[in-house]
Symmetry: C2
Subunit: 387 residues, 2 copies
Amino acid sequence: MQKCTKCHQVDGVIKAGFIRGNQRFFCKICSQHFILENAFKSDLKKNGQSTITDVANALGVSISTVSRALNDKSDINPDTKKAILQAAMELDYRPNLLAQSLHKGKTNTIGVIIPDVEHPFFAKVLAGIQQVANSSCFRIIVCHSNESKSAEILNTETLIDCRVDGLIISHSKETTSFEHIKKIIDKGIPVVQFDRIITELNTHNVMHQDYKGSFDLVEHLILQGCERIAIMSGPQEMYICKQRLEGYKAAFQKYGREINEEYIVHSNIAKKDCLDVFDYFMSLEYPPDGIFTILNRNGVEMMKIAKERGIRIPQEIAFAGFGDDILAEYFEPSLTVFNHFPPAIGQEVMKVLIRLIENKTHFPAYNHFIEGELVVRQSSQKGGYIK
Amino acid sequence: MQKCTKCHQVDGVIKAGFIRGNQRFFCKICSQHFILENAFKSDLKKNGQSTITDVANALGVSISTVSRALNDKSDINPDTKKAILQAAMELDYRPNLLAQSLHKGKTNTIGVIIPDVEHPFFAKVLAGIQQVANSSCFRIIVCHSNESKSAEILNTETLIDCRVDGLIISHSKETTSFEHIKKIIDKGIPVVQFDRIITELNTHNVMHQDYKGSFDLVEHLILQGCERIAIMSGPQEMYICKQRLEGYKAAFQKYGREINEEYIVHSNIAKKDCLDVFDYFMSLEYPPDGIFTILNRNGVEMMKIAKERGIRIPQEIAFAGFGDDILAEYFEPSLTVFNHFPPAIGQEVMKVLIRLIENKTHFPAYNHFIEGELVVRQSSQKGGYIK
DNA sequence: ATAGCTATCGGAAAGGTTTCCGCAAAGCTT
DNA sequence: AAGCTTTGCGGAAACCTTTCCGATAGCTAT
C-alpha cells in the first residue's frame, strides 16, 4: 500500500476515490487525504523575458522599489534608482504591457476595422491613422472584414476582448444593421466611423465631401458640354452612395436638367460589375455622353472597356470618378476625379478618437468633413468651360 | 485633538509627521500610528465590462466554477453550467484577453512589421497573412516602419512589450544591421523574414524567385532582340537587389553577352529617382534599347517619361519590371513583369511562423521560395521570339 | 451500516504591474 | 532629550484568468 505523506505510516491508508484521474488516499491515523505527487512538475518556466521581480532579486530590493525607480516616482534614493536602472538595462528588462494594461484598465491600443487593405483608399487612411497613433503613443490593431458582415462582427468581438481603448470603423458593403456597434458603445468604448458610416448611430464620423464632390464633378461634366450624364452608383443603403447621388441630382437641378432614372444604376461597385453596367448604358436608346462613377477604379475599368470598343474619350463619352488614385493619374486618358485626401481622413479620425478617449466627458457627436478638391484631367476635357 | 482610531481615546494622540501630504498621528496608549481616512474613495470602478466575478456573484457560485463552465471543463453539473452560460450571456460577458494571456504566457498574437502599407505588394502580403491568421485564431498587430530604421527598432520593442508570440518582418530600406532582431531571437521569440531579408540572421525566410524572375525577364528582353539592356537596381546592400542583379547577369552570361557596368544603376527605387536614372541612360553614347527595373512602378514611371519624350515603346526601348500590379496591367503600354504572387507569400510566411510557434522544437532555418511567373505584355513585345 | 467512490464545487496561487499604506531610522527643532 | 518631520523602502492588494488541490455530500456495493 501507500505510505501516508504526513505520518509516513502504511497501515491506516485506504483508497479514497479518484480525483481528476489520480488515485486519492486517506490516512485514518492522521486523518488526511492525499494523492500521489506528479514528481516532475515542468521546471521549464522562465520564458526568457525578465520581470520586475528579476530586477528586484538581482539587487535585493523589493518590487515596489523597482517599480518606483522605473516609473520615475519620488520616494526613492537617487543611488538606489541608478542601480535599479542599471540592473534593468543589464537584464534587458521590458515592461509587460499585458500586466500594465490589466492593472490600469486601459491598453493604449485602438482597434481599426476596414473592409479591405488592398483598396488604396483604405491603405492611405490607415497610413494616416498610424501616423497620428505613433506620435501619440497609441498602438493599433487592424482587422479586415473583407466586405463581410459576419467577419466584421467577429472583428468587433475580438477587439472588445483585447480591451481596446477605442474603435475606428468603416463598414463592409454588407453591413446595414448596427447592433454589434451599439453593443460596443454601450460598454462605454468610444467609436469613430469614417467613409462607410451608419447614420443611425450617434457617433462621431469623419467624412469626405461626398455631396459636394459629386456635385462638382457632375457640374464639370455639364459645363464641358455633356448632355446625357449617367451615374454608376453603389448599394442603395450605403450612406456615401446616397450622398453622391444627391450631389449628382443637385447639379442637374442647378442647371435645370431633368433627371432620367434610366441613367442611374445601382451596382455592387466591383470590377466585374463594370462590364454589365457599361453594356446597359450602351443599350439605351440614347447612350450617355458622360459617365460618372462613384468609385474611381470603376471609371478606369469602364474607360478600358470603352477604349477596347473604339469609343473616343472624352469626345464620345467623358468620364469622371470619385477619389484620386495613381491609376486614375497614369491611365490613358487620365481620369478626372474629386480627390478626397484619404491620409487627412485617417489623421482626423485618429485625432477625434484620441480626444474622445482622453476627455471622458463625451462631447456631442458630430460629423467632421475633410475638404477635397476637383482634379480635372483628360477624360473629361471636351473643350468646354473649365470652372 | 484627534481621536485614536483604535482605542478611541484622545489624550494619548500626538502628531507624527506627514506622509504623502496627510497628517500622521501616533497614539501613545495603544501605540499605533494612523492617518485621517480619505472618506470618499472613488466608487466609480466598473468600467462597463463584466468579469467572471460578476457572473459568479450573479449566481452565488465561485469563480472557479464559472471558469470551468465557460471553458467546457468537466467536473461541473450540467445544470450549473447551463445557468452560468445563461448568466454570462445576459451580462454580455467577454473574457479579458489581457488576463488570459498574462496567465497563459502566450497571447496568440503575432507582430508584423512592414515598411509601407501603401505599397501594393505589402498590402497584398498583409492580406495573405491576415487570411491564414484568421483561420488559425491568431491576431496580428501591424506596424509600419515607413522605411526608417529607427522606427523599425521602435516597432520591435513595442511588439516585444506586447508579448507577441512571433514576429514577421520585412526590413526598411535603411536597415542593414540586425542587433534589434537578434535581441528578439535571443528572447526565444520565433521570427520569419520575407522579401527584404537580412541573410546574416539564422531565421526562416520566405522569398520570391528574385534570381529566376530577373533571369526570365532579361532573357525575354534578349530574345525579343534587345541589344543593350540596362537595369535600374536598388540599394546595393539589399539582398533582393543583389539577387535580381545576379539574375540579370546570369541571363547575359547564358547568351554570351558582355556585362557593361554603364548600364547598371543602383538607386533608391523611389519614384523621384526615375527621372535621373532615365536621363542618365539617355545620356550614354549608346542608350539602352531595353530597360529592366527592379520595381514595377519604376518601370511604369520611366515609360511615362519616355512617352512624354516621344520615345516609342517597345520599338525604341522595351521595358520589363519585377512584380505585378494593377498599374502595370492598365498602363499603356502594359508592362511585362514577373509576377511573384504576394498573397501566397503572406500565406506562407504565416504558415511557417505558426509551425514555429507550435513546434517549439525549432526545426532548422530554411528559405522558402514562392514560385512566380513571367507575364509578357506590350512593353516588351518587339516581335521577337516569346519563350 | 460502512468502506470505498464519485460528482461537484470552493479556495488559493500564479502571472507582472502599480499603488496604497505602514514602518523604521535618521534628521530637525525646541 | 523629547517632540515632530522626512526619507526610503517593504508588504500587500488589486486587475482578471486559469488551474491545482482539497473538501464534502451523497452514492454503491458489501
